[in-house]
C-alpha cells in the first residue's frame, strides 16, 4: 500500500505560495491603511480610478473657478465703491447747481461754484479712469489703456470697448465682470443722448462766464444731473446683483466640492474600520498558517523511525 499524499517538494512549494499570498494580502491592506488610498494603480478598479481622475480634474478646475470668482467679485466691489463715489460727486454737483441757479448770487460766487464744479469734473474723469485689481481700466471694458482720454480743453472721450467680457465661474456659468463707462455715464435727457462728464464740464464752464445766462444753465443742468444720478444708481444695482450672483455661484461650487470630496472618499478612500478588521483577519490566518506549517514540516517519519 502506498501512502496517499503529495510529495514533499509539492508540500513546501504550496505552503510557500500560500504563505506568501497571505503576506502579500496583508501588505496590500497595510499599504491601503498607510496611504489612505484604496487604489494604488488603476487596474485594481479601472472604473473607480477613471471616476477618481474625473473628480480630481473637476476639483482642479473648480479651484481655478473660485480664484476667478474672487477676482471678479473684487473687481465688482471696486466698481461698486467707484460708483458710490460717482453718486456722491453727482449729489455734490446737484447741490452746487441748485446754489448756482439762485439769481441773487454774484458773478464771483457763481464763478467759484464753477471752479468747484470743474474740480468735481476732474474727479469724475479720474474716477472714470479708475483701475481694477489687475491694474486695468475699471470702466474701460477690454481696453488696453485708459477708459477716457482728456483733450487739451479738458473734454473726456470714451476710448474703451463696448463690452466688458465675461468671467467664467465654472459649470457653464459666467458673470459679466464689470460695467463700462458709457453704461452709467451716458443717458438721455428729453430724448437726446448725452453724458454726465460733458454736462458737468459744460456747467462749470457756463458758471465761469462762458454762458449768457449762467443761472438758467444751472437750472437746466439739474435735470441732467438727476438723470445721471439715476443711471449711476441703476448701474450700482446691477453690480450689486452680479456680486450676489457670484456669491451664489461660489456657494454652489463649495457645495459641489463637498459632494466631490465625499464621493472621492467613498470611491478611493480606505475605510479604516473595515480595512483594519480585514488586516486582523488576514494576520490571524497568516499566523495560523505559519504555525501549522511549522508543525507539519517537523512531522517527518525520519524523526520517529530509529
Amino acid at each position: 500500500m502506498t501512502i496517499i499524499g503529495t510529495s514533499t517538494s509539492a508540500f513546501f512549494d504550496r505552503s510557500n505560495l500560500d504563505l506568501s499570498g497571505l503576506r502579500a494580502q496583508a501588505e496590500k491592506l497595510q499599504q491601503q491603511l498607510s496611504s489612505g488610498d484604496k487604489l494604488s494603480r488603476s487596474s485594481e478598479d479601472p472604473v473607480a480610478a477613471s471616476r477618481l481622475r474625473a473628480l480630481s480634474r473637476s476639483e482642479r478646475l473648480a479651484k481655478i473657478d473660485m480664484t476667478n470668482a474672487d477676482r471678479a467679485s473684487t473687481d465688482l466691489a471696486l466698481s461698486d465703491a467707484a460708483l458710490t463715489s460717482f453718486a456722491n460727486a453727482i449729489i455734490r454737483a446737484q447741490e452746487l447747481a441748485t446754489q448756482a441757479a439762485n439769481e441773487t448770487l454774484t458773478e464771483t460766487q457763481r464763478a467759484s461754484i464753477g471752479t468747484e464744479l470743474g474740480e468735481i469734473h476732474a474727479r469724475l474723469v479720474s474716477l472714470a479712469n479708475a483701475r481694477d485689481s489687475a491694474g486695468h481700466a475699471l470702466f474701460g471694458g477690454e481696453a488696453a489703456g485708459d477708459a477716457y482720454s482728456i483733450d487739451a480743453a479738458g473734454n473726456a472721450t470714451y476710448i474703451g470697448t463696448a463690452g466688458t467680457g465675461d468671467m467664467p465661474l465654472g459649470d457653464g456659468q459666467s458673470v459679466t465682470r464689470g460695467v463700462t463707462g458709457p453704461d452709467f455715464l451716458n443717458f438721455s435727457v428729453n430724448g437726446s443722448p448725452t453724458d454726465l462728464l460733458t454736462h458737468v464740464k459744460a456747467l462749470a464752464d457756463a458758471l465761469k462766464g462762458s454762458a449768457a445766462d449762467p443761472s438758467g444753465a444751472a437750472r437746466d443742468a439739474l435735470d441732467a444731473l438727476g438723470a445721471g444720478l439715476d443711471a449711476v444708481s441703476t448701474s450700482q444695482t446691477i453690480v450689486g446683483s452680479r456680486l450676489a450672483w457670484i456669491d451664489l455661484a461660489v456657494e454652489r461650487s463649495t457645495n459641489l466640492g463637498e459632494l466631490r470630496t465625499d464621493e472621492q472618499e467613498k470611491i478611493g478612500g480606505t475605510d479604516i474600520a473595515i480595512t483594519v478588521a480585514n488586516l486582523q483577519q488576514v494576520m490571524l490566518v497568516l499566523e495560523a498558517s505559519q504555525s501549522s506549517f511549522a508543525q507539519l514540516a517537523n512531522l517527518s517519519l525520519f524523526e520517529t523511525l530509529r
Binding site: T8, R60, D65
Partner: protein
C-alpha cells in the same frame, strides 16, 4: 531439488540493496527539479523443471526500475503551464505599460494645462498668468515625452525578452534533439535511460513555458515536438530541429517564423509578450494621436488670433507624436488670446474662449482618461484570466507531483522496509549456514 538457500538469500540481499539504493536516490533528489520518483519492481526467479514435483527456486531479481511518470499528467502540466505562462507574460507586459502611462502623470499635466487656460481667462494680459500657462504647457509636453519614452522602454524590454525566449527555445530544441539520439541508443529501463527521460520531460516542460507544444512520444522513448499542438509545425523530430525566429515590425509588434513559415503561438510566454506588444502598439498610437490632435487644436486656435503685441499668432506646439511634442516658444506674450484684428495689449479674450471651447471638443483629458482606462481594464481582465489559468496549472502540477514527486515519509517507510528485507535475507543465509553446520556435525 535444485534450490539453494544461500543463493536465494543472496539474491534477496542484492534486491534489498538495490531497493535501498533507489530509496536513497529518491531521498537525495527530493528537491531536484524534474526528478521523477523511482520505485523498484522485483520478479521472482523460479524455473519449471521437466520433473513435475521438483521444487526449483532461485530467489528474486530486479525486473525494472519504474519511473512513476504519467504521460497524460505531464502533458496536462505542459499545456496548462503554457497557458499560465502566456497569461503571466501578458499581465507583466500590460502592467508595465500601465505604469508607463500612469506614472508619467500625463493626466494631471493635461488637467493643469486646462486649468491654466481657464485661469488666463481671468486676465488675459497678465504676464504671470501667461508665463504660468507656458510652463504648464511645457510640463505637459514633457509628460507626453516621458510617457512615450517609458512606453518605448517597455517595448524594448518586451522585445528583448521575446528574443531571449526565442534563443532559449532554439537551445532547448537542440538539446532535445541530442537527447533523442541518446535515448534511441539507451537500454530499456536502465538507470541511464530514466535519467535521460527525466531530462527529456524537464526540457519539454521548460519548452512549453515559452511556446505551446505538442509532444508525441515514440515507443523508443524519443520525442517528436510540434509547435502549437500535435498537428503543428515540427520543432524537433528525431535528431533534427526547426529554427524559431522572431522579427519586429515598425510599430514594435513581433511575429515568429519556424524555418521560414510564419506561425503564431497561442500559448507560452512568447505569445503573451506578442499580445502585450500589440496592446503597447495600440496604446502608443493612441498617445501619439492625442499629442498630435492636442497640438493641432491649440495651433489652429493660435493661428486664428493675435499675440499680446498684436502680431499674428504662431503655433504653440510642434508634434508628430507623443515622443517629439515640444513647445515652440517660451515667451508667454506669444499666446494669442485676442482675436485677429485686435490691437496690441488687447484684453479681448474671445480667441482664448475659442481655444478653450475647441479643447472642450477635442477633450484631451477625456481621451487620456480613456487610454488609461483601456490599459487598466485590460490589465484587470488579463489578471483575472491569469489567476484562473494559474490555478488550473497549479492543480495540474500538484496532480503530477502527487504521483511523481518524492514523499519523504514514504521513503522513510521504504528505507525501513528494505532494511528489514535485507536483514531477513541475511538471517536466511545464517539459517543456511546453520543447516550446513548441522549436516556437517552428524557423526
Amino acid at each position: 531439488m535444485s534450490s539453494d538457500l544461500i543463493t536465494i538469500a543472496r539474491s534477496g540481499t542484492k534486491a534489498a540493496r538495490i531497493a535501498l539504493d533507489v530509496t536513497a536516490q529518491n531521498i537525495a533528489n527530493a528537491g531536484t527539479a524534474g526528478y521523477v520518483r523511482r520505485s523498484v519492481q522485483m520478479e521472482e526467479l523460479s524455473s519449471t523443471s521437466a520433473l513435475n514435483r521438483d521444487v526449483s527456486f532461485s530467489g528474486v531479481r530486479l525486473d525494472r526500475i519504474v519511473r512513476n511518470a504519467d504521460a497524460f499528467r505531464q502533458a496536462e502540466v505542459r499545456r496548462t503551464g503554457a497557458d499560465a505562462s502566456r497569461a503571466n507574460a501578458e499581465v507583466a507586459g500590460l502592467e508595465n505599460i500601465e505604469s508607463a502611462v500612469e506614472q508619467a502623470q500625463l493626466y494631471p499635466a493635461i488637467v493643469q494645462f486646462e486649468a491654466s487656460l481657464q485661469q488666463l481667462a481671468a486676465d488675459p494680459v497678465d504676464p504671470s498668468l501667461r508665463a504660468a500657462l507656458v510652463e504648464d504647457a511645457r510640463t505637459m509636453t514633457r509628460a507626453f515625452n516621458i510617457a512615450s519614452s517609458a512606453l518605448q522602454a517597455v517595448g524594448e524590454g518586451l522585445r528583448f525578452e521575446a528574443a531571449d525566449g526565442v534563443t532559449q527555445v532554439n537551445k532547448l530544441t537542440s538539446e532535445l534533439a541530442q537527447l533523442n539520439l541518446r535515448l534511441a541508443r539507451s537500454a530499456d529501463a536502465s538507470s541511464d535511460q530514466t535519467a535521460l527521460l527525466d531530462r527529456r520531460d524537464l526540457l519539454l516542460e521548460q519548452l512549453s513555458g515559452y511556446v505551446e507544444i505538442g509532444a508525441i512520444i515514440a515507443p523508443n522513448q524519443t520525442v517528436e515536438v510540434r509547435l502549437g499542438g500535435t498537428s503543428g509545425l515540427p520543432l524537433v523530430s528525431g535528431g533534427t530541429t526547426g529554427t524559431l525566429a522572431m522579427s519586429a515590425a515598425a510599430d514594435g509588434t513581433i511575429s515568429f517564423t519556424l524555418d521560414g513559415t510564419a506561425t503564431t503561438p497561442a500559448a507560452g510566454s512568447l505569445a503573451g509578450k506578442a499580445q502585450a506588444l500589440s496592446k503597447l502598439a495600440n496604446i502608443s498610437a493612441g498617445l501619439d494621436g492625442l499629442a498630435t490632435s492636442l497640438a493641432a487644436t491649440v495651433n489652429a486656435a493660435q493661428a486664428a488670433g493675435v499675440a499680446l503685441d498684436g502680431s499674428a499668432g504662431q503655433p504653440m506646439f510642434s508634434a508628430t507624436g507623443a515622443g517629439d511634442i515640444t513647445l515652440t516658444f517660451n515667451d508667454g506674450s506669444m499666446i494669442a488670446t485676442a482675436p485677429a484684428g485686435a490691437g496690441a495689449g488687447s484684453r479681448d479674450q474671445s480667441n482664448l474662449a475659442a481655444l478653450r471651447s475647441a479643447l472642450g471638443t477635442t477633450n484631451p483629458a477625456g481621451a487620456m482618461d480613456g487610454l488609461i482606462f483601456g490599459i487598466s481594464s485590460a490589465v484587470q481582465s488579463a489578471s483575472t484570466t491569469r489567476d484562473t489559468l494559474e490555478t488550473i496549472a497549479g492543480t495540474a502540477r500538484i496532480a503530477l507531483q502527487a504521483q511523481s514527486g518524492v514523499d519523504l515519509d514514504q521513503e522513510a517507510v521504504n528505507l525501513l522496509r528494505y532494511q528489514q528485507a535485507f536483514q531477513a535475507s541475511g538471517r536466511a543465509i545464517q539459517v543456511a549456514a546453520d543447516i550446513f553446520d548441522t549436516l556437517l556435525g552428524i557423526r
